[in-house]
Each structure stands twice: as structure tokens, then as C-alpha cells.
Assembly symmetry: C2
Amino acid sequence: MFYIESEMTQIRPFTQAIDRLKTVHLRPTRQRLGLVRLLFEGGNRHVTAEQLHAEAQAAQIRVSLATVYNTLNQFTAAGLLREVTVEAGRSYFDTNVSDHHHFFHEDSGRLQDIPSDQVQVKDVPPPPPGTAIARVDIVVRLKSQEK
Amino acid sequence: MFYIESEMTQIRPFTQAIDRLKTVHLRPTRQRLGLVRLLFEGGNRHVTAEQLHAEAQAAQIRVSLATVYNTLNQFTAAGLLREVTVEAGRSYFDTNVSDHHHFFHEDSGRLQDIPSDQVQVKDVPPPPPGTAIARVDIVVRLKSQEK
DNA sequence: GTGATTGCAAATCTTTTGCACTAAA
DNA sequence: TTTAGTGCAAAAGATTTGCAATCAC
């Protein structure tokens, strides 16, 4: 342990990001590392490709929008992210892949997690013959309160 | 009552379609009447704009795809239809506007109603301050059963 | 007549893809 | 080296829009 504090905080997150990618068998490229750090350092997030691309630019991480899309899809396929569908025409990606649901603020387009223990679906009907339930999604749509 | 049977069955649905449009203050144009009849004569339906346009063509109802889109949006705004979002990139419109939920067959893209009395959400969390719940959507995603 | 509605083509928006170039193993 | 990954521009798919022609009232 001979790193000084400032070096530690620089290096540790990189190591974590690299490990996260290695775990899912994706090469830790400069672009993926940058996106992993934006996505996973700092709590649960819900982002669109466009948003993440803008953030990357702001953070001096040079990456094309096409690569952001491809990366988000790869991360989703690898189980690092979960795609949330609340609006036709726009895809959100959620860094929280555990069982939970969402509030959706219709006017701002913002998503917010609802822990799974806070909502329960009572009596999910049996799936039709020949099918199995892949997932149950609950979206609580919110409008701003009119007085 | 002096119409013969064949004339009755011709005329009654038109009258109903006209009334349905008048109720929501939309002029009963040839295109809207055709679409209303396709949508509402024959049980609950879940359609995309593309599907409805194809049906209209098949039924000799001349209407452009742009008008189908505009009409579906107008009907939704008027409360005649409800938009169901299950896949980013495609909008479904549901002729059932009462409180209910959906099965979504992921491989076929088919939607199926779940009557509201068959699922219950237990303990919907309170909406964040300044907001009110507009709607709670439950989508049960189905995959075809692999043996 | 007059304002609403329609059709068409063009525009827009989001997302995907083909391919030559670059980088990781 | 060898194969995976990237950027760019072009393509694709869904939906919206501008505007002249048409239709309902």
C-alpha cells in the first residue's frame, strides 16, 4: 500500500470498471471504461443514449453516439443494465437491474425507482398456455399536481 | 321501422360511428368513419398505425398513413383510445379505455388484456410531493415456453 | 363560403448498420 | 498478428409537419 491518497482515488475506480467489464467478457476499451464510470459511479441512474452521450462529451470522454447506443445494448444483453420502456420512441436504461418498479414523471420524462418491497402485485394471472412470465413491469405515471 | 334487414345492418353501424365522433366533437369525415368502424365494431383491439392502415386498405377505405397517425392521436386525446407503451419504437392503441392491464407476448408483439379485477397492486406507494398518480400500468411480459 | 380535414412528400427523431480504421489480447 | 471495437456517414423505421387541395357545416 504505497499509493498516496489522490492516486488511490484515481486508480481504484478504474480497476472496478475494468473488472466489471471483464466479468461480462467485454474488452475494457477506453470508450466502455468511460461509460461504465459515468453509469455506475454514483448510485442508480436512468439514462437515454442521447443523455449519456452528452455527459460523456462534457466529461471529455470522446465517444460517438453510435458507440453509446451499441454499448448500452451490449451492457443490457450482458445484464449490466436493464431497458425500461415508458414512452414510445425513447429508450431508458436503468443501472439498477434488481427487481423493482418505476415512477414516471410524464412532464419531465424523469424515471424514479420504486423498491420492489414497496409495491406488490397481488394475484398475477397465470400466463397463457405455452408461455412463461419473463417479467412484470409496473409503471406509476405521475402528473404534476394541479391546484 | 321500415328498413329491410339488410339495410338495417348497413345503416345502424354508420349511425353509431357518427354518434361516437359527434360525442367527442370530431367531424365525421369519410376517413374517420371508416377507422371508427374498423376499430370499434368487433370487440377490444390493440393496433399499431401501420396495422390499421393496412386493414383500411384491405377494406377499401382510402386513407393515408399520415391521417391514420393523426386520427389515432386525436382519438386518444378524445378518450376514445388509450395508448399502450410496451416497446420503444412502436405505439399500440387499445380500444379498451377502462381500467385494465396487459400481457405482452414478446416474440409476436401481441398484446392481450388482463381485466383489472384479475390483478391488484397492493400498496401503491404515495406519489412524490407535488405530483399525482395519472395511471398505473402493469405489463406482464411473456416469452414462449422453452421445453 | 369558411374553417376543419386530408394527402402527399418532406422533415424529424431515434436507433441500427456497413465498412475502413484502430486498438486490445 | 488476429479479432474485437470504434467512428462516421448512410440507412432504416416510426412518427410528425407544411401546405395546397378538398370536404363538412
